[in-house]
């Protein structure tokens, strides 16, 4: 019998591998170890992707399957699904992991329907149970509840994984083999829907995900002027500023990509300082992996206080200026 294989569907947008692609290799490695030494394979679709394939091969993939074709340059749901459905029918993997991104999430659902197999979405953890089945832990009700999902009889067992859950492997881990796949199956398909182009928004500040200190602001911050206090504190600490949905809706923040929580990003800083945040579940799930949570809220009954390691019941406008001044004095 061949050794088991964990498959990862990596993704590129305009010739750049997305961060979750590398994190999926990290997730696959964890599962491969639980399987007692499975190999890690990934597949990438695109045009002129040799370099990207080599990058994946040096980040923990034992095998990198490339579907290199000009027709696959942009994400085309019908072409991509056609190729991957045939590919997985041939490979017959036990497990396939996908990014829980707009593109890969849609693609995974499409391929799952064609393979008539199960797909769990936005997994926050993956592990094997005693029978060797993949336990896919998914958030429900905004993350208030986590549910285990199993796919007992159909194969492959497929899951999408959110960005920021698993760590990528470091470069130089392994030197995988690159395998070119035949894409002639596309010849028989003329897609009805066509992706004409990608418009990238100006390069986003990704510092929030890597920052050791994150200052988060909620509706209680009160104004754009007050928001500058958060910016000042975070910049002194070399951190980044994040926000809740209500603060985003007020227009005080740096945009949607800084929203933390269920429909935003997940962070794992050393310290999270929450300002004027009540503590709705939708936000809490995004900060729960912070090593230390400090919150400042003038309402002693704000739920955030019991989800924090340390709480300050005070008007932040009376605390932050003093804190900022003190850090300035010290540095």
């Amino acid at each position: 019998m061949l050794p088991p294989e964990v498959f990862v569907v990596t993704e590129q947008v305009q010739g750049q591998l997305t961060p979750v692609s590398f994190e999926l290799l990290g997730a696959a490695k964890k599962l491969a170890e639980e399987m007692g030494g499975a190999s890690i394979s990934c597949v990438l679709l695109g045009a002129d992707i040799r370099d990207l394939g080599e990058d994946l091969a040096s980040h923990g993939a034992d095998k990198v399957y490339l579907a290199e074709d000009q027709r696959l340059a942009l994400y085309q749901n019908e072409y991509y699904a056609l190729f991957l459905t045939k590919f997985f029918k041939k490979q017959q993997p036990e497990v396939v992991l996908w990014g829980a991104t707009a593109i890969s999430g849609e693609l995974a659902a499409t391929v799952a329907a064609r393979l008539e197999t199960g797909l769990s979405a936005h997994c926050s953890d993956l592990h094997l149970n005693e029978e060797g089945l993949l336990v896919q832990v998914v958030p429900a009700f905004g993350g208030k509840v986590l549910g285990d999902i199993l796919c007992p009889s159909r194969r492959p067992q497929m899951a999408t994984v959110k960005t920021g859950i698993f760590s990528s492997l470091s470069k130089g881990e392994g030197a995988g083999e690159i395998i070119y796949e035949d894409t002639s199956i596309l010849d028989g398909c003329s897609p009805l829907l066509k992706t004409l182009k990608v418009t990238k928004e100006k390069d986003r500040d990704t510092s929030l995900k890597e920052a050791a200190v994150v200052v988060g602001g909620g509706w209680g911050v009160g104004s754009g002027e007050n928001w500058t206090l958060l910016e000042r504190l975070s910049s002194l600490l070399g951190g980044a500023v994040g926000c809740t949905r209500p603060a985003l809706d007020e227009g005080w923040t740096n945009g949607e990509h800084t929203m933390i929580g269920t429909s935003g990003i997940t962070i794992k800083p050393k310290v999270y300082i929450g300002i004027g945040i009540s503590g709705a579940i939708h936000h809490l799930v995004g900060i729960k992996d912070a090593e230390m949570i400090i919150s400042i809220n003038k309402d002693a009954k704000a739920p955030i206080l019991s989800f924090s390691d340390y709480g300050v019941v005070a008007d932040f406008k009376k605390v932050l200026p003093g804190l900022i001044e003190k850090i300035e004095e010290l540095s």
Binding site: V145, L146, G311
Partner: protein
Amino acid sequence: MKERRILVCIKPVPDPEHYDKIGIDPASKTLVRSGIPAVINPNDKNAIEAALEIREYWGGIVELVSMAPPDAEEKLREGLAMGADKAYLLSDRSFAGSDTLATARVLAAGIAKIGSFDLVITGSESADGGTTNVSPQLGEMLGLPHVCNVESITPQNEEQWQLNVKIEEGYLKVEGPTPMVVGVNDKINTPRYTTVMGIMEAEDKEVVIWSAADLEIDNDKVGLTGSPTQPGDLHEPKLQRAGKLLEGEPEVVVDKLIRLLRQAGVLNA
């Protein structure tokens, strides 16, 4: 100009405003969600709004489709009160426990019975399960092109539509012919409020109820037994922390915060 027939898939969910109250019963390990009212999935209201705007511009009819228990008729009436013309409720005990694939099968069977249409619009994401799977899987079951995370829909001409799709990096511009299945995101519009007049008119609108026997559907492929994914244990993530209060005058609190930041290794001065 050709009138459009637009189908909108909606589902009731427990009101997301109350998710803090959802928990797990420690004895039975089942979900506790009593007392939480059901609402139309918020993103599905964007789908209804998108359909109504297309109808206002091009003319046509908007019909709602939902797979849900019988008491969902009330939620369908809310959608009718927003302005939809007719609703179909696909309701059968055998549908209970359907995962995304089985749900897509039931919706597709209902839509196949309804007949021809120009567009199926869904929300991209439900507030409760939040898989984002159903919209594309419905497209697959209907054998139609599909696209989700759509932030704007622009008809180019009678049969060609252009869609702006939100992705993490920016946007995709996608173009294709109707009929198709479109999953809209929550940025596409602001759903209208229902009016008293709307509610009164909704009382006279038709809600068709179909059971499994009314649909051409393979009973082995719906419900919990027909679903490839099976639910296992439920957990509540551990979110509670010590919640130690830092007390004192602002200067004292500042000194305590400085100590914590040093202790955490994020302030070296």
